[in-house]
C-alpha cells in the first residue's frame, strides 16, 4: 500500500530524513517510533506530499511526487493537534472538508455522531478541547473513508481520558482493515495498536521490528512518568538509557519503560546519581485494560 524508497529530506545542511526505505502492506498497522527530532513528522509530511523530498514514495498506485493530489485522496491525516481557522464553527469546518473530498455532506452528520461530537456543531474551533479537536480531526480523516490513515502523534497533547478515546477509535479503524501509520512515543499505544514498528533515530530507519521483539516482555512492561527538575531532564534521560531503559522526553517529564516488577529500578538509579524526583506516575497499561474488558 505504501512504498518508500531512499527518501531524503534536508533542511539546509541537516538531513531530517536520511535515506529511509520501507514498505507497508494493505491492512497493516505500523508505528513510527523515535524520540523528538528523529524525523517522524518530516517523514509523514513527505508521505503526504506536503514537503518536497528526494527519493520515491508510492501510495496505492500513485506516485506522491507526481500525483500528490491523487495520493492524498487515499489518505486520511490526523495531525498532532488539529489546526483550523479558530473562528470557524465545527459544523462549517466539517462541511468545508466534505466539499474538498467531494463527500456527501450527509456523511458529516454520521461521522460527527461516530466520534461523539453531535450537538457541538455550533462551537467554534478555538473553543474545542484537545480531545474534541482530535476527534474532529479523526472525523475529517474518515470523511471519504480512505484506505490509509496517517496520524502524527495523535494523542501527545491529550490527557488520559482524551487519549483513551482516540486510542479506542483507532482500534476500531484497525479492525475495519484500514492501513494505519502512526507516529508515537508511547509504548502502550504501540503495543496495543501496531503490527510492526519502524524505529527512527536521527533521520535514519534503524530497525524494522515488531512490538513483541522491541519489548520482549511486552505484557510485563509498564510506562511511568518521572518528573525531575527541568534542567536535569537531559542528563537523567542519558543516565537511564545507559542503563538499558527506553526513555523519551515529552515535555512533561521523562517517560520510562520498566518491567512491571522492577518499577523502582529507574528511581533508584536516579536517586543514586543525585537527581531529585519531584513526582512519579504509573501510566495506564492498555493490555490490562483490554484484558479487563
Amino acid at each position: 500500500m505504501i512504498h518508500v524508497k531512499g527518501v531524503i529530506k534536508k533542511f539546509g545542511p541537516v538531513a531530517a530524513v536520511d535515506g529511509v526505505s520501507f514498505h507497508i502492506d494493505e491492512g497493516e498497522s505500523i508505528a513510527l517510533w523515535g524520540s523528538n527530532g528523529a524525523g517522524k513528522t518530516t517523514l509523514i509530511r513527505c508521505l503526504l506530499g506536503v514537503l518536497r523530498f528526494r527519493g520515491r514514495i508510492v501510495v496505492g498506485d500513485e506516485n506522491v511526487k507526481r500525483r500528490g493530489k491523487m495520493a492524498r485522496r487515499l489518505i486520511g491525516y490526523v495531525p498532532q493537534e488539529l489546526a483550523f481557522h479558530d473562528d470557524t464553527r465545527l459544523g462549517a469546518a466539517m462541511i468545508f472538508f466534505a466539499k474538498l473530498r467531494r463527500v456527501d455532506p450527509a456523511r458529516c452528520v454520521e461521522l460527527l455522531e461516530q466520534v461523539g461530537l453531535t450537538g457541538h456543531e455550533r462551537k467554534r474551533v478555538r473553543d474545542l478541547s484537545g480531545g474534541m479537536k482530535q476527534r474532529l480531526a479523526l472525523a475529517v480523516a474518515m470523511l471519504a473513508d480512505p484506505p490509509i490513515i496517517i496520524l502524527d502523534e495523535p494523542t501527545s497533547n491529550l490527557d488520559a481520558v482524551g487519549r483513551s478515546e482516540v486510542f479506542e477509535m483507532l482500534q476500531v479503524l484497525k479492525r475495519k482493515g484500514k492501513t494505519i501509520l502512526f507516529a508515537s512515543h508511547r509504548p502502550d499505544e504501540v503495543i496495543g495498536l501496531a503490527d510492526r514498528l519502524l524505529v527512527m533515530e536521527k533521520g535514519r530507519l534503524v530497525r524494522d521490528t515488531t512490538p513483541a521483539s522491541q519489548w520482549p516482555a511486552a505484557g510485563a512492561v509498564q510506562t511511568m512518568r518521572l518528573v525531575v527538575a527541568g534542567e536535569r531532564e537531559e542528563s537523567a534521560a542519558t543516565l537511564l538509557r545507559d542503563a538499558g531503559h527506553i526513555v523519551h522526553l515529552n515535555g512533561r517529564g521523562l517517560c520510562v519503560l520498566a518491567p512491571h516488577d522492577k518499577k523502582a529500578l529507574p528511581i533508584r538509579l536516579l536517586a543514586q546519581a543525585g537527581v531529585d524526583i519531584h513526582d512519579f506516575e504509573i501510566l495506564e497499561d492498555f493490555n490490562n485494560e483490554e484484558g479487563a474488558r
Partner: protein, 470 residues
C-alpha cells in the same frame, strides 16, 4: 383588445402611406422666384416667401423686410455665399439657410451683409462655412439665429458670426454650434448678450475691438471661451464659461488689453479659468476681476509674471487644482488681491474667522511647494492627483525651511464664496446615479451573502449548515 390595437395600427399605417407623398411634394423652386417677389415690392415693404425649397444664391439689393412663411429653405447647393445683403435697412427673418461653398479662400457664408444697418433674426443656418458675416455693416442686429457649422476639423471651419468694421451692432440670443470663432474685428460699441457658443474654437474673440459689453453669454466646450486681443475698455459680465479645454483652454484670455472689467462670471472646469498676458499693457491702466466664481479649473488664474495692476476682489476660488498660477517663474505681488478690506474666497484657506466678520483672521498666502516644483520642472505635473503630491505639501507645511516664498498674499480672505447664478449646463443623471449606487451596493451584498454562504444542503444537513452559518 387585440383587434382594436390591430385596427389602430392599420389606420396609422394607411395614414403614413398616404402622407409620405405629401412630404415629398415639397414646393421646389430657385431663388429667382424670390428675387421676382422682391422686385415687385416697394422699398421698405414686407415680402413673405412661401414655404418650400429655393436653390441658388440670393442677392438682396433693396431695403426690404423679407420673411419666411413657414419652412423656407434657401439652398446654395454647395456654391458660394447663400444670401447676400447688399443694401442697408434690410430685415432678413425666419429662413433656413444651407449649403454654402466650402473653400476657405473666398470665405463663402450662409448670410453676408456688405452694408448696414441690417437685421438678421430667427434664421437657422446649417452646413455653411461662415455663418453670418457682417462686413462694414454698422448698427446691425443679429438676433435669435441658430448656426451650425460644417462638420470639418477645427482649423478648416469658418466663423459662426464675424463682424468686420461694424460698429454699434447688437448680437443677442444666438446659438452657435461647431464653428470656428465668433469673432469681432475693429468693431466698437457692441452689445453682445445671451448668446450660446458650443464646441467651437474661440467662443467670443475680439481683435482690436473696444468699448463693448459682453453679458450673460454661455460658452461651453470651446477651445477657448472668450479671447480678447488688443481690445480695450471691455466689460465681461455674468457670463458662464465652462469646460473650455482646447490646447490652451482658457475660460477668459486677455492679451494686451487695457481697462477690462470681469464681473460676476462663472468660470468652471476650464483648463485655465482666466489667462492674463500683459493686461493691462499700459502703465496707468488697470484690470478688475470682481465677484467671479472660478471653480474646478486646473488653474484658476494664470498670469504672466510681468502682470501688474490687476485688482482681484470678491472672487471665489473654489477647488482649482492650482488657484492662481504664474506663467513661468516669478510672483504676482504687483497685483492687488485685497481692496477696501475685502479679498477673495479661497477654498483651500486654512485659517478661520474668530470674530465672525466674514473675513479670515490670517492672510491667505499662495505658497505651494509642489506648484513651485512644477514651475521649475513642468514635467512633474505628471504626479498631480497622487499621494506623493500630498506628501510634498505636507512636508512643506510641517517644515517652513522648505516652504517656497508666496506668489502673492490676500490679507483679507473671505469666508464665503460669491453667489453667482449658474446656467444649468449639464443634464441631470440623478436617477441613473441612484441606480448605479443601488447596483453597486447590491452587487456587494450579493457577492458577500450568496457566494460567502455555503450552498444550502439537502437532507438533515440542511439544519446543520443553516444553523452553522447564521
Amino acid at each position: 383588445m387585440k383587434l382594436q390595437r390591430a385596427i389602430v395600427t392599420f389606420a396609422l399605417f394607411v395614414a403614413g402611406a398616404t402622407m409620405t407623398p405629401a412630404i415629398a411634394a415639397e414646393y421646389v423652386s430657385t431663388v429667382g422666384a424670390i428675387e421676382k417677389l422682391i422686385e415687385s415690392a416697394d422699398p421698405g415693404a414686407t415680402v413673405r416667401v412661401p414655404a418650400g425649397r429655393y436653390t441658388g444664391n440670393l442677392r438682396i439689393t433693396k431695403p426690404i423686410v423679407l420673411e419666411g412663411a413657414g419652412v423656407v429653405t434657401l439652398d446654395g447647393g454647395g456654391e458660394g455665399t447663400v444670401v447676400e445683403l447688399l443694401a442697408p435697412d434690410i430685415t432678413f427673418r425666419g429662413f433656413t439657410v444651407t449649403g454654402s461653398g466650402a473653400g476657405i479662400d473666398r470665405e463663402p457664408a450662409g448670410i453676408r451683409a456688405e452694408t448696414g444697418p441690417v437685421t438678421i433674426e430667427d434664421n437657422r443656418i446649417e452646413d455653411a462655412l461662415f455663418g453670418i458675416d457682417l462686413r462694414e455693416a454698422p448698427n446691425s442686429v443679429i438676433r435669435q439665429n441658430q448656426i451650425r457649422g460644417k462638420d470639418m476639423e477645427l482649423g478648416r471651419r469658418g466663423d459662426g458670426i464675424r463682424l468686420w468694421w461694424s460698429h454699434g451692432c447688437v448680437i443677442e440670443d444666438n446659438i452657435v454650434h461647431s464653428t470656428r470663432d465668433m469673432v469681432f474685428w475693429y468693431s466698437e460699441d457692441l452689445m453682445i448678450r445671451r448668446n450660446r457658443v458650443e464646441d467651437s474654437r474661440y467662443g467670443l474673440h475680439f481683435m482690436y475691438s473696444h468699448h463693448t459689453v459682453l453679458s450673460e453669454n454661455v460658452l461651453l466646450r470651446n477651445s477657448v471661451g472668450i479671447y480678447l486681443m488688443y481690445s480695450n475698455e471691455i466689460t465681461i459680465e455674468g457670463n458662464t464659461l465652462a469646460q473650455n479645454r482646447g490646447a490652451s483652454g482658457y475660460g477668459i484670455g486677455l492679451k494686451d488689453c487695457d481697462g477690462i472689467v470681469v464681473r460676476n462670471n462663472s468660470l468652471l472646469a476650464n483648463r485655465v479659468g482666466s489667462y492674463i498676458d500683459n493686461s493691462p499693457s499700459s502703465v496707468d491702466s488697470s484690470g478688475v476681476f470682481e465677484g467671479n466664481l472660478i471653480a474646478f479649473n486646473e488653474r484658476g488664474m494664470l498670469m504672466t509674471p510681468n502682470t501688474h495692476d490687476v485688482i482681484l476682489t470678491g472672487n471665489g476660488f473654489v477647488e482649482n487644482e492650482e488657484q492662481v498660477a504664474v506663467h513661468g517663474r516669478g510672483d504676482l505681488t504687483l497685483n492687488t488681491f485685497t481692496r477696501d478690506g475685502r479679498g477673495n474666497f479661497w477654498s483651500n484657506y486654512a485659517g478661520f474667522d474668530a470674530d465672525g466678520d466674514g473675513i479670515g483672521d490670517f492672510p491667505y498666502e499662495a505658497a505651494s511647494l509642489f506648484e513651485s516644483l512644477i514651475a521649475r520642472e513642468p514635467n512633474l505635473r505628471l504626479f498631480v492627483h497622487s499621494p506623493a503630491q500630498q506628501a510634498i505639501e505636507f512636508t512643506a507645511r510641517a517644515m517652513p525651511a522648505v516652504r517656497p516664498s508666496p506668489k502673492f498674499a490676500d490679507t483679507a480672505p473671505l469666508m464665503t464664496p460669491p453667489t453667482v447664478e449658474i446656467v444649468q449646463i449639464q443634464r441631470s443623471h440623478a436617477g441613473l446615479m441612484t441606480v448605479c449606487a443601488i447596483c453597486l451596493v447590491g452587487v456587494a451584498v450579493l457577492v458577500l451573502n450568496v457566494m460567502g454562504r455555503s450552498a444550502v444542503l439537502p437532507g438533515p444537513v440542511a439544519a446543520l449548515s443553516s444553523e452553522v452559518l447564521v
